[in-house]
């Protein structure tokens, strides 16, 4: 069972996503419970996998009984297991949230297909995580991206335009990745990641390998929207339906960051990545620019979702910066930040979706007195916001602590300064909203009537509360998470 869990976790959502269409056409109301149940089973399977990895070591499952490197291998170590738990948990929570939000924002005939494509997206993301084969990873990357394009395109008025840019940029990224795979295949004759790790060190002097590495890094940088290749992200994530924004913001960039870590430190040795080319140096500076740029742009926005999207650009900068400093603390910080950031992004976009649901807009300037209307939602918003800023004891503090620690260890003082500066700017961005909510007198209320308490439906409120409480819980247990999973994922050279 334990080994099969690693393949079932992608087989089940894939099958159900197809089944969703006939079942939905018979009875539309069945789609929602089916989706929730499927993602719940993914959560269960991901816990089984994580438990197996922690207690008995890495999993290797040979698809169809073909031995690697000829067949496709499903290879799971601590890093995969950790990512699997994050992505499947987020997809479960988002699928609970989806029902009311989607029914409000989408045309009724699109709902069945929404659930279908949503499960395809989950399949793609989980597939990227479990596979041990570079080409297979490309296929899952494209499944996830295509599902992402479709989900973004069903959003509001400007969504198709944003989606088209997203498709062009995303395809360039995927093609560069594919070229990297091709170059490595020419020199090694294999696509299996473990096999490549074994064969590549003898070929590090080859220019083909260097070109492959460059293609990988640039291709994945487009997929994770690393500044200055981020241009598609703010538009796409602003105009997508709220549920979709919450899910893609929390997962797509994080899975991309996983691919980057995999390629940089598993396919290639850390020694090569850190020393052969000035890649990590460049990535570090680019990531610092992303942190500052994302925050400056976030300060300038009046649309709540657009502001969050720019903060996401900055958060991607944090993750890449932690990886680029090349030591244990920085790497731990990055991997921990993947978890924290995906949970924070989900909570914040959930709140944005809740405001959309009740108010019908998300302009930062017109949010006054929302704390009286939606006290629970706003409480959760504040927890997520201070976690984003990095105030202890919320989760965001611990990953930023490790990131700063890593930058100090590597003696990159500029990175430390940029990180602190960008945290301050995130604080400014969020306090601006909090001030608008709590202290701005409402202009529209000429009469002194108290706003009535009016929360979103339970199926939306519950995920919001669960996510923000889990931010506190993760904060308290981050030591244990690092001990049991992350420290085993740190590459050997560090």
């Amino acid at each position: 069972m334990n080994e099969q869990a690693s393949i079932l976790i992608i087989a089940i959502p894939l099958l159900v996503s197809v089944l969703n269409i006939p079942i939905g056409l018979l009875k539309r109301s069945l789609c929602y419970p089916l989706t929730v149940f499927t993602t719940l089973s993914c959560v269960y399977l991901s816990f089984v996998i994580a438990d197996t990895v922690i207690n008995t070591g890495n999993i290797s499952y040979h698809v169809g009984g073909w031995e690697p490197p000829w067949g496709i291998e499903v290879a799971i170590d601590h890093l995969n297991a950790y990512m699997l738990v994050i992505i499947s948990f987020v997809s479960f929570v988002v699928s609970i949230y989806a029902k009311n939000s989607i029914e409000k924002e989408l045309l009724p005939d699109r709902i069945i297909y929404f659930y279908t494509i949503y499960l395809l997206l989950v399949t793609g993301l989980l597939g990227i995580l479990v596979t041990g084969d570079l080409f297979n990873l490309f296929v899952f990357l494209e499944i996830a991206s295509l599902a992402g394009y479709a989900l973004v395109a069903i959003g509001e008025d400007k969504a198709p335009l944003a989606t088209f840019n997203y498709i062009i940029m995303g395809t360039i990224g995927a093609c560069f990745y594919l070229l990297g795979v091709g170059y490595l295949y020419i020199v090694t004759g294999t696509l299996n990641i473990a096999d490549l790790t074994r064969l590549l060190p003898a070929l590090y002097h080859s220019k083909v390998v260097l070109a492959a590495f460059a293609f990988f890094v640039v291709g994945v940088a487009i997929k994770i929207a690393l500044f200055p290749l981020h241009t598609w992200l703010p538009d796409a994530y602003t105009h997508a339906p709220s549920t979709v924004s919450a899910f893609v913001a929390a997962t797509m960039t994080k899975v991309g960051a996983y691919v980057m870590i995999r390629v940089m430190f598993t396919v290639f040795e850390p020694n090569f990545t850190l020393n052969a080319l000035p890649t990590t140096e460049i990535l570090g500076w680019v990531a610092s620019a992303a942190m500052i740029f994302g925050c400056i742009m976030a300060l300038a926005q009046t649309d709540l979702k657009r502001m969050l999207a720019y903060i996401l650009v900055a958060e991607v900068g944090y993750i890449v910066m932690g990886v680029s400093v090349g030591n244990r603390a920085g790497f731990t910080g990055s991997v921990l930040h993947i978890l924290n950031d995906s949970f924070m992004m989900v909570s914040l976009f959930f709140v944005a979706g809740a405001i959309m649901y009740k108010e019908g807009h998300r302009n930062i300037k017109n949010l006054s007195n929302l704390h009286k209307k939606m006290p629970v939602t706003m409480g959760c918003f504040i927890i997520a916001a201070i976690s984003m800023v990095g105030v202890p004891p919320t989760a965001g503090f611990f990953s930023k602590w490790y990131l700063i620690h890593g930058a100090i260890n590597a003696q990159k003082w500029f990175f430390v300064a940029f990180l602190l500066l960008s945290s301050l700017m995130v604080a400014a961005a969020f306090f601006r909203i909090i001030q608008n909510i709590f202290f701005q007198p409402s202009e529209s209320h000429t009469t002194h009537e108290e706003p009535v308490r009016d929360e979103v439906p339970c199926s939306m409120l519950l995920p919001i509360v669960v996510m923000s409480i889990s931010l506190l819980v993760i904060g308290f247990f981050s030591g244990q998470i690092i001990d049991s999973l992350i420290q085993h994922a740190v590459p050997k050279g560090f």
Binding site: V139, L146, Y149, A153, P160, F164, I168, A174, G182
Partner: protein, 128 residues
Amino acid sequence: MDTMDFIIGKYNYWVYIVLMMIGFYAMIAKNNFAKKLVGMNIFQTAIILFFISTSSKTGGATIPIIQAGMDKAHQYINPLPHVLMLTAIVVMVSTFGVALAVLIMIYRRYKTLEEDEIMAILKMEKQI
């Protein structure tokens, strides 16, 4: 002479690079969304040409179907890149399909696919 050999001997790779750059140029510089999409398709096709090129072998290797009297690996071309590209073609067609669907949505909304005209429409709507 060496340079000539380098250029002529590897002409398929040169073609791949030229095609890729044509596609890249179209994606960046063209004003019309449909043309951008065609550029994207050329870009992807170039990669298929590259992969297929890598599978060829000199010395009269043939397609990988076992024939009588030919039992050496060097007598057949490498089938794996072909298989990979079959999958990549599927991905390509799906991307193209999704992109065309999005273009239809854009066209229904703005009645044009020219980027500058759409930007002008958006600017006008913002002022109203």
